[in-house]
Symmetry: C2
Subunit: 744 residues, 2 copies
């Protein structure tokens, strides 16, 4: 656990430079606007530890699937969002000496992520190896107002130097992905031009995406504009070069304004002219005006989504940090995009979509954004339905059964471990549950006929073929699965998977009836399209009736899987702490055989379907499973925090909340340098709103059952519920609700 | 299935060239002598399909472990026996034209592996692109008399050509392994010299093995010796060059004599002088004398190990082919060597040792070679005991528990799939069983005190830690294993594994008692060395008494694993044949969930421990499991053939025998081009001797219960039993036994 970030309600502040944590700070200080993003790298060259990263949504490369032993059914490729053009880059030469903080003696340093404004600032003073004393002030943003724009301001002042300064402001596509084998590069040069605005366009290998960036740089020296001296050009690289005689102690101000667009959105032929035009217009408006509209956009976003915690600045900073990054990662404008586990903050997991979106992220976007945003997350999966059906076919399923991928960008499965790829099929359940969740929250029943029902039918058909009749049990069983607890593989009758499958079959029947009655024309179209047979619901009902669930009557618990109680049961608290985390200290063999649970599994089901069970059942299961849970997934504590609140276990609820809310700021898992845990951030939001706030939506009504931690004075948040913006404030005594629409 | 090899009792004959099957024929025609071997490649250059392969026992390279997602406990490297110096190589130029059969018009062609002599011959006539009519006769062997020697004879005659002929006779270490990533090479040049005898020595990267080969070439033209013209030299390559004026229709005779030795056996400093001296001496003796001693050595080997089948030439050829390659692969002289699944015939599986050795190969070597040979196979594992204990420690075991690797060359685990590496632990059982099997066969009880007991104790300690007490079952259980049937992964209570574990604990107690009584000094030493505690057998007895076994009372069968009967049970015979083999037609997911069995699992246990069960129990299990078995491992049919004979199922026994005996000759699995299935060849031997011959060793006596297939006139084989060479002949009516020692 690190503790170098200052506590502040609105800011992430690194006071004094911590080069040893630089990659962590770069992750924390990443900026994004849903369409593009970049890590908090320095603009100038830096030879110390850094992961230079710039990412554009939707632009991916299908890399080779890497396996030890190939299994039939493995995916063709592993799609990864590519590290792309570095557009903040500057090379600054003071005389002959290139500016590089790694080689300087730093006198003062502050890096500040201003979450209210969505800007990253840095001020520092230092002496170079040649003894020049320099002060530097810089600020940047990815425009939240216009998600194709970015801007950098870079002010520099040399106290004891006069002479030649050279500034090279560049766009560099000669980039290697961090995990690239043998330093293979995935970009080809496409087009480079250098008029008033310079332009660099590159193409991804294989997928042939075109991404073009236009740049115009303004350099002033003591307020006087410096003319561009020349153009620098190399393969996949272009720069504007400014050279001038510097007068000591005079400020140099550099502004980089860029516009980026790609063939993901526009015809390739348009890219250059569009980007250059947008860049030129924005350049004329200037950095400050661009910034103003950016900050205004953020202000509106905060009005919708902020959470205030009075009396606990650490918790306040934590939750705002999470909300900030969730909003940076996904704007909900485009139903072809989704939420990668690291957002725009790193390369791990390839920027792909997991079941995290449906199981953890959806509630945040439902409550803090327009209905369209949550809807687009669902439509993303609808658009991949054909590929999900093909994916199931590859594994031997028929008749329109759909298995959504575990990991994907464009609908193709990308994961390469059989125990996950083929067996962690509960993801299908989460995708169905998200449809229910969305409609339950928004009341948008029309979604069913338009998109949802086809998905539900595809998934229900999958469960139908995936179960088999057991003569021994005289019941349907689901063999060979991996549940949410990935510390078990290839188990039989995972209770959670069986439960969500059964629920899904029921819900699908219910939805079919609903659409059939209320939108009979639509139903005609759908049933023809999917070649629906009236026998199907009969078959589903048989499975619903006769699906097997492992339980232990004596303990009054659902069993995580068949024979779970054959394991040696020792609580985590009774383990010698030297064994923790077990994923670092134990062989995989030992983990699999142990009773230890990576993240909520049975309890995930009780969280989703709380209303289906009495409190005593939930309590018994919680009391049995939580003590066996090591919470070694970032997605684990939030669900436990909500359940603990529900069960009036206030201490456990707060303990679990602490484990999730400052995970990245405090680098709890020692991996923030790889990027932030974006999807678990939504879990933090859930643990506040559904946990401490006790919010539920039942029968088209909002319900609250708040239970505030003792050290919090108050908790406030805003909820967008069916077009009403409702502000909720909870203190230790009361709850205040305000429908802000009515107040306007 | 291919059918281009002529049926012959002693020979593998390719009549007419089949370039499309050339890699298959190269595998079939591989030669070896336990220390070195090579595929049946052409000596002259060949630009068609070929896998040029030359291998030396014990010379391996630790290549990178390749995995998708790293798991704790995975091995550091993957050891592979390296493709090494090509020593048969010749470049032959007729005028300007290099000889290359791929570019010639072939008039006649015959390639013959003479198994009685252990030689590979080829005669062919062809016209070159330039229209020269050439006849070629060549023969080679790896000396069975002196396993460091090899020789090639290559006679050539050109009908309508006079002019310059150039012959380059080379030693080439510039070799790439077939599975090498990015064509990485694993050999470095070490030493090259060129006196009367030329010498090429190279070193393996990382492991630093030195391998040196000396070569002397004799070329005659019309009986007149041609002087060497020059030496050719490149990196890792040296050659003798002969150039002369050729007179039409005059025979050119080339003889290559090589001697090879390595730092696996000798000091590196000795290698050059030893090899050169051996080569020079052998060269003076000449090809024919070398061949005579080689053929004599084979003749003795055949006296010990031949099987004759009268009335079925196809079966005769099959079994001889298997015996021939088993003898080529492993000579038993060196307890550091073992039996790779492909021997010297290809690169797949890296030349490593599997449990195949103990479970399938040992009986062949016990019966057909000196006692020392089988003993060395056991000592190989004894020498790896320390590494097996370290391997178990890596996985979290303590107290001297030993887990032998699934795949190894030098005792280090090399496999990289968790479901095999960590879970296929029954291999430990086979290693213990081999000790029992060896002592039961040979009566060599002294082996226990010398080597065997320490291994048994290490393995028993492993089982002790690997089981856990199940409160639910009130029994010890063994969770998370993979049985011999690798179409199941991570199952609980695999009956076979539990049974062999229990047997192993019992046998270890028995052996400790035996050694304690008869060799009390040795016992003192052993018990001190392994820090034996008298509590251990008590603990083992508890496990023996309370170990859980899944059974189905109603069906009267042992269950392959917990909940096996939850699967959908459909016999293989009732599957649409389009699904077979399932490992090519089904996703891994579907295979795992199915009831289909790759190779004997419960039945493997009933084969090993036949005496522990009544015939009715064996029959019920056979009748249940065999119909679910797809026999997609080459190791499967043999066990079923033996059991079928035991159960008087003559047709099934013969059907299973046919699946194993000509597997490679007929390329049954479409993979002979990768190399031969050496370890399953020992299974073929078992299915004849233990199956049709019905041989058993019980209470220090040989027993026979022969059941000859109807179309066989007679079956004869020779058994080395406790220093008596016993010849057995079985016909449809009687069995004849002859102790050949007594006849001498």
């Amino acid at each position: 656990m690190k503790d170098y970030i200052s506590k502040d309600p609105w800011k992430i502040i690194e006071n004094g430079f911590h080069p040893e944590f630089n990659k962590i700070t770069e992750s924390l200080c990443a900026l994004g606007n849903g369409k593009m993003g970049l890590r908090g790298n320095f603009a100038e060259s830096y030879s110390g530890e850094t992961l230079q990263g710039t990412y554009f949504a939707g632009i991916y490369y299908p890399d080779k699937t890497k396996v030890g032993w190939w299994k039939n059914g493995y995916p063709e490729f592993f799609a990864k969002v590519l590290n792309a053009c570095n557009w903040i880059g500057l090379k600054v030469f003071i005389g002959e000496e290139e500016l590089d903080l790694h080689k300087c003696n730093i006198l003062s340093f502050q890096r500040v992520l201003d979450m209210r404004q969505g800007t990253l600032q840095r001020s520092c003073t230092f002496t170079t190896a040649n003894g020049h004393e320099i002060s530097l002030n810089t600020e940047r943003f990815c425009s939240f107002h216009d998600d194709e724009m970015g801007a950098l301001k870079f002010n520099i002042n040399a106290k004891n130097f006069s002479g030649k300064i050279k500034i090279e402001s560049y766009l560099d596509f000669d980039i290697v992905n961090e995990d690239s084998n043998y330093d293979e590069k995935f970009w080809n040069e496409s087009k480079i031009s250098s008029a008033e605005v310079i332009y660099n366009e590159a193409t991804t290998k294989k997928t042939n995406f075109h991404l073009g960036l236009a740049l115009k740089t303004r350099v002033t020296h003591g307020g006087k504009q410096i003319k561009r001296s020349s153009i620098g050009q190399k393969e996949k690289y272009i720069s504007e070069i400014f050279e001038f005689e510097y007068t000591t102690d005079t400020e140099v101000n550099i502004q980089k304004i860029i516009a980026a667009n790609s063939s993901f959105y526009y015809a390739q032929t348009e890219l250059e002219s569009r980007a250059i035009e947008k860049c030129a217009t924005a350049f004329d408006a200037g950095f400050e005006e661009l910034k103003n509209s950016h900050v205004n956009a953020w202000s509106k976003k905060w009005d919708q989504s902020d959470i205030q915690i009075e009396g606990d600045v650490s918790a306040q900073q934590g939750i705002r940090f999470n909300i900030f990054h969730l909003n940076q990662t996904y704007s909900g404008k485009d139903d072809r995009l989704n939420i990668g586990p690291k957002g725009f903050t790193g390369e791990k997991y390839g920027g792909s979509t997991y079941w995290d979106t449906e199981a953890y992220c959806l509630p945040f976007y439902l409550s803090t954004a327009d209905q369209e945003v949550g809807r687009n997350l669902l439509v993303y999966r609808f658009k991949h339905l054909t590929k999900a059906i093909e994916n199931a076919q590859k594994l031997g399923f028929e008749n329109g059964a759909a298995l959504y991928p575990m990991v994907t960008i464009d609908g193709e499965e990308c994961h390469n471990e059989w125990e996950i790829t083929f067996e962690e099929i509960h993801r299908n359940g989460a995708i169905a549950y998200a449809i229910y969740n969305y409609i339950n929250y928004t009341g948008d029943e029309a979604y069913l006929a338009e998109f949802g029902l086809e998905v539900l039918i595809g998934i229900s058909r999958f469960w139908t073929e995936r179960v088999n009749w057991s003569e021994a049990k005289q019941a349907y069983v689901m063999l060979g699965v991996t549940g949410p607890n990935e510390y078990e593989n290839n188990v039989n009758n995972n209770w959670y998977t069986n439960y969500i499958a059964k629920w899904c079959l029921k819900y699908t029947i219910e939805c079919i009836d609903k659409v059939r009655q209320s939108e009979s024309n639509d139903w005609q179209k759908i049933s023809t399209k999917v070649a629906f047979s009236e026998d199907e619901p009969n078959n589903w009902n048989k499975i619903i009736e006769k699906l097997y669930f492992p339980i232990d009557e004596e303990k009054g618990i659902f069993l995580q899987q068949d024979n779970f109680l054959d394991k040696e049961i020792i609580k985590v608290a009774d383990l010698d702490p030297k064994h923790l985390p077990i994923n670092q200290n134990w062989s995989w063999d030992r983990i699999l055989r142990s009773c230890y649970i990576k993240q909520a599994d049975v309890l995930q089901g009780l969280y989703f379907f709380e209303d289906h069970f009495d409190k005593e059942t939930i309590r018994k299961n919680f009391d049995f499973y939580e003590p066996l849970t090591v919470h070694e997934s970032s997605l684990s504590p939030c669900v436990h925090s909500v359940l603990a609140n529900y069960l009036d276990k206030k201490e456990k609820a707060y303990e679990m909340y602490l484990r999730t809310s400052r995970l990245d700021i405090d680098d709890y898992n020692n991996d923030t340098e790889d990027g932030l845990h974006i999807t678990s951030m939504a879990g933090t939001w859930i643990s506040i709103v559904e946990g401490f706030g006790g919010m539920r939506v039942k029968d088209n009504h909002l319900h609250f059952a708040p239970k505030l931690p003792q050290n919090w004075e108050s908790l406030s948040f805003t909820i967008n519920f069916r077009s009403a913006l409702i502000h909720i404030k909870i203190d230790q005594k009361e709850i205040y609700l305000e429908n802000t629409n009515l107040c306007q």
